[in-house]
Amino acid sequence: MYRYDEIDQAVVDQRVAQFRDQVSRRLSGELSEDEFKPLRLMNGLYLQLHAYMLRVAIPYGTLSAVQMRKLADIARRYDKGYAHFTTRQNLQYNWPKLEDTPDLLAELASVEMHAIQTSGNCIRNVTTDQFAGVAADEIDDPRVYAEVIRQWSTFHPEFSFLPRKFKIALTGAPHDRAAIKVHDIGLIVRRDDAGNLGFEVVVGGGQGRTPMIGKTIREFLPKAYLLSYLEAIMRVYNQYGRRDNMYKARIKILVHEIGAEKFAQEVEAEWEQIRHTATDIPPEEEARVRSFFSAPAYRRFDGTDAGFAAKKLEDRAFALWVRTNVVAHKQPGYAIANISLKPVGKPPGDATADQMDAVADLAEQFSFSEIRVTHEQNLVLPDVAEADLYALWQRLRDHGLATPNIGLISDIIACPGLDYCALANARSIPIAQQLSERFSDLDRQHDLGELRLKISGCINACGHHHVGHIGILGVDRKGEEYYQITLGGAADEDAAVGEIVGPAVASDELTDAIENIITTYVGLRQNGERFIDTYRRVGRAPFKERLYDAG
């Protein structure tokens, strides 16, 4: 993975020093809370319902074992012994003290990490495929470009006060695991007819109160022009994005209002003017960054490991875990192992410090010391030999980390909701817990197959409900928590926004309503099709009809 040089280290160290000064000015009273707010927000420090919350950037979801151990250490020393992995591959501490935050940031800097631009109206942490570099279907490793974008976007002098926050995601594979079409900019690595590498550029996707699927504004951008093209998009947005209404300030509204074609023309015209400046990095800089992502020293295996195949036959629990949590690797004899952070009845995405330490140890032992964070709030060990999978699974089980539910109904995305968040209308975590308990039967979950259930506690949609096969949105109805259900959303290359299926239901009726949806699906599915395929085939009506049936 990428390692800082003197420049990268200087940037984060200087930031820590700057923030230490800002916090001391706040603590001495020289800065009021109002004056301090924009400064702390630029360092990912939010004031939530009960306490400060610090959001730590995990650039494109990649962590080393050393970094994970540091995150665990911080959770113990500065928080209550746990942390929360978010839908943007970041990590949040929910209980740090203001006076501790400069030290906390210094701890992060000591392992080449930071909280820069994890909030505020700037370019946020760039996200990508959690299987980058190891996916069997990959065209090129997106981490190379993600790191280039990370550096370019860090303290960009022109684009640090945009109309609204700005999120960039990219995928190096045609199967989109990074939800790029619901980002402000989504990049898909492509090859042109001559075999040259470049990107399809998608702009104006997003969730929130106006969900939109991004539009392609350029079919193929040669990779050498990545930064100048991004800069052209940002400049058009910075000048013409709406600033009169924060709910209409995202780039998706601009693209929608002037039309994708006109927006593309503006970008192309701007790009013509700057594509020959020094905005783009030279090829040797790309090569330097790429060198950090070369494949580890894989062992040579011929064919599938006999022991692995035998264990699957003898141990059904292991076989179930392999079925959902293990994914094909590009290297023969290796596998990608997903670690579910969605055990039955626990808040999605939370991990204790002990679990984080365990994952760090297992990464060192089994996966070349590398860990990934997924936007579905799970973890990944990307490089595990098939021969080691059984031993890994046993160790994961010891730590409550072997839940075999990746991609199933209990692998729920949920925002922190009203338990933590100052913006929420309703709780998300108890709803996720309730549902994961109702559908805890593993055989049933496996029978239902792939089913993406996502919960947001308010219309800001941090829990991605718009793109859930089943989406649940918390709404406030005269002080009561109600939940609106949407169906048919998807976050992958066939991205779609879910449709509302009927009036919102009270929290004590929600689980039964979801049960009715599932029963309807099981009755209608043909030839083992997925929930989303059935929904696309039959539409909303049969689900709507039976949504409120008494159980």
Partner: protein
Amino acid sequence: MTLVRDREVITSPWPTAEIDGEVPILSLDDWNVRRDELRGGNAPLGIRLASDQGADTVADDVDRFSVIELEFPTFKDGRAYSTARLLRERHGFRGELRAVGNVLRDQLSFMHRCGFNAFEVDGEDAADQLRLALRELGAWYQWTGDGRPTAARLRRSGQTERVQG
């Protein structure tokens, strides 16, 4: 409010015109009305652009102004960063580019990199604030028209140790 020019605290690639006394500053509306009368003169002249008045509004006239003021109605309105870069890098403005309005210490280094070289800042210690602010970050990844070497350029020439942490 104190007006601090960057040559008082830090070197800049933009040669600010030596200005004696106050320069009259017109609004864009005034300029558009009086353009024919004033375009040909040599008396020092300035213009002030609101944040929704982009660089294109004065693109053909930049050589006539000694001073261009760009407004930040609130610190959150970042349009003037783009306007500044366009005035410097595309339209070749060589005079004094002033940041006025809600100009906060913690934004000065961004403004400076976009081509501002004069800042209207609150407080008696404004010059000291500017000096400190411009030193807080010593390394940059992005190219702008100010010519400062980017991280990629320092790496290529093996000069990464020039950056002080």
